[in-house]
Symmetry: none
Subunit: 216 residues, 4 copies
Amino acid sequence: MKKSPGTLSRAGQRRQREKEGRREAILKAAMTLFASEGYNQASMEHIADEAEVSIGTVYINFKSKEEILAHLMDEIAYEIRKIVGDNFRTVEDPYEGMRKSGIAFMTEFCQKYPEKIIILYRESVGKSPLLEAHREKMHKQLVADLQGAVETLKEKSGFRFRSGLSSEIIATCIGGMYERIAYQFIIWQNRTDELDEASEEVVDFIVGGVNSLRMK
Amino acid sequence: MKKSPGTLSRAGQRRQREKEGRREAILKAAMTLFASEGYNQASMEHIADEAEVSIGTVYINFKSKEEILAHLMDEIAYEIRKIVGDNFRTVEDPYEGMRKSGIAFMTEFCQKYPEKIIILYRESVGKSPLLEAHREKMHKQLVADLQGAVETLKEKSGFRFRSGLSSEIIATCIGGMYERIAYQFIIWQNRTDELDEASEEVVDFIVGGVNSLRMK
Amino acid sequence: MKKSPGTLSRAGQRRQREKEGRREAILKAAMTLFASEGYNQASMEHIADEAEVSIGTVYINFKSKEEILAHLMDEIAYEIRKIVGDNFRTVEDPYEGMRKSGIAFMTEFCQKYPEKIIILYRESVGKSPLLEAHREKMHKQLVADLQGAVETLKEKSGFRFRSGLSSEIIATCIGGMYERIAYQFIIWQNRTDELDEASEEVVDFIVGGVNSLRMK
Amino acid sequence: MKKSPGTLSRAGQRRQREKEGRREAILKAAMTLFASEGYNQASMEHIADEAEVSIGTVYINFKSKEEILAHLMDEIAYEIRKIVGDNFRTVEDPYEGMRKSGIAFMTEFCQKYPEKIIILYRESVGKSPLLEAHREKMHKQLVADLQGAVETLKEKSGFRFRSGLSSEIIATCIGGMYERIAYQFIIWQNRTDELDEASEEVVDFIVGGVNSLRMK
DNA sequence: TATGAATGAGAATTCATTCAT
DNA sequence: AATGAATGAATTCTCATTCAT
């Protein structure tokens, strides 16, 4: 008994659920292995094993290994943009928004998902032209978001920056600061518990930096 | 006619020069190829070709591909520490020193040797446990230098920081800012000519940031 | 139509057969090449070609070249122990058993499978620590079998040996005699047809030797 | 002041001595390394280092690595033939000669020079066609010597063997017995101290074996 | 759709031998 | 004669991707 097109039979729904479950399992396995062994060392066979599917199934869901990493990068970037954006917009005062979003990034993202930090800042770096292009696009978005926030700050506070370049510089600097703090405290050293404290200082540093580029 | 031990015949001197020349050629070739094609894509055969020596000769000089990259990293780190350190110490006022050294890094290093920036910030990232350890050590030194400068600043200016963590946070942030600025302007976008302008703003940002972590 | 777990579809059975066929083909190719060109000279590519599979397939079946040789050694040792053991046990009189098994080794094994003799006595010698350890274990088993036979002989005949070492010495000597006879007549010289005659004399030599170590 | 041809100046004599010393050093180094690391693993560079000469000097003295091993094999074979032959001829009674020479081989050669046993029975096996040919020639001589001794025994004792093949079979068996006893007790197990005891039993085994091939 | 055996290009590394000095 | 840097062919092994079932 065929259903009308567009709807799915119960069995079809189950298959659909299973299919998505498999896709999720593959992404999860890949994230775990990329973070623990490194992108190059984690073979497709290993990923398939970890996800409890066959290699073939991995290729049904993703057309290449690169694509898996690209997908993970997108997911991670989306989460970060969401956390940062939501926290920025929650409060009225944009200075407070910067503080809040920075601290949220550190304590609600970095501290909770260290593997994602490893993927973002270590395992996606310098892998291939395609992935590097993807990474560039991703960072461009993050910087654009930050720049937007800086512009908002400027407008709401009614000041001007030293030059047309300033807001981009600021946004880029902020991105770099968070990256290196996370890299040092999470990837190299195991000081995740100090991130609360650190993030407080980082946001103050940022606010001080931003203000020093104000005209007058 | 035997020379006294320790000195070399003219012919010996020439051979010695040739030997060193070959070593340099290999490093140069590796740097060029790592920067243009990426570490993984640049095969030892390719490097040997580019250096106009045989594969065997590469292995006489470096015991593995990893070692070549480690050597390049050391060289680059040494140059950066020298440029930054020299410029910091040239002037009396440590604020001025920070400005000067930051601008020097951007204009005398990044602008002139983009391949070194690529090696440092892209091609050495996440390659292997050994190289990652090397990279950590390298960054630790750079951060230690920066932290030293920040401490000097603090002492000469006679203030205190908010916490014992502050100077480390500041140094780490500075490292991250320069990294990402260089990455964006040199590796991803071709805006090397804007680095002069950008670096001025970055150093001001830094000074503002540092001051905002001062006690009181 | 799904089969119950544990059974295979006809197609699955065929695939299973093909898989095993490939494994056999690889072992056969390796045996042939190790015997004709030598273990070191026979490259994995060469083996794969001879077996009409790809190099990758060789590595699916055996994790290294060493493992292929180790496997061949095991197979050969198993066959020898079987032939020798079966023939020894077929007859009641242990003297007759020694004669029969020795002659069987020569005429039913050495004469028929000269490549196996080459692998066993030439190509597995001194290749690597791992293989040497494997070889030691293998020979220890063969000697233990022979020693068991000698002990049986002793007990059934109701005599004692000169010392506690005697049966081990005898077993070791027997192993060495067969080895060298096979090496000389099969590997170095092409006198396989004389092995019938030779083995008769060897077994008599052995019987005489054994008796000369009897007490009294 | 040129000396007449055929004589050497003092300096020339010294150079000659040094040259021979170097050759000896190379052979000694090669023996040590072949025995400890194996023929394939011992590189020419390693041998040169151990002999405290350059690679070039090794090649002045021996035209290839194979030749070094061939030379060592010759030396070892010569020593064995000398020890065995001298001991056989020392006594009148050929049975006693067999006993004496066998025991001498075990206690004066195997026990004292385990590296030579390793070279002879392990490291020279199955290396290359050339070396295998060399090895065959060497063993043929050893077997011929043994066969000569067996023939002497036969003639002095005034008996005949079962067949024309007998003396060759006996000689070959003897060679194999000593080989395997030495391999087991020296190379695989560290029971060099038991060789005294073992060799006594081996020679009795041999005598018993020889007699069992006597006609009637 | 799912499977996983098969593929084979590609990579790093070794080392006997040569030869200019 | 002695040196030892240079050579480069050869080898083992990996792994992303394909495709017949």
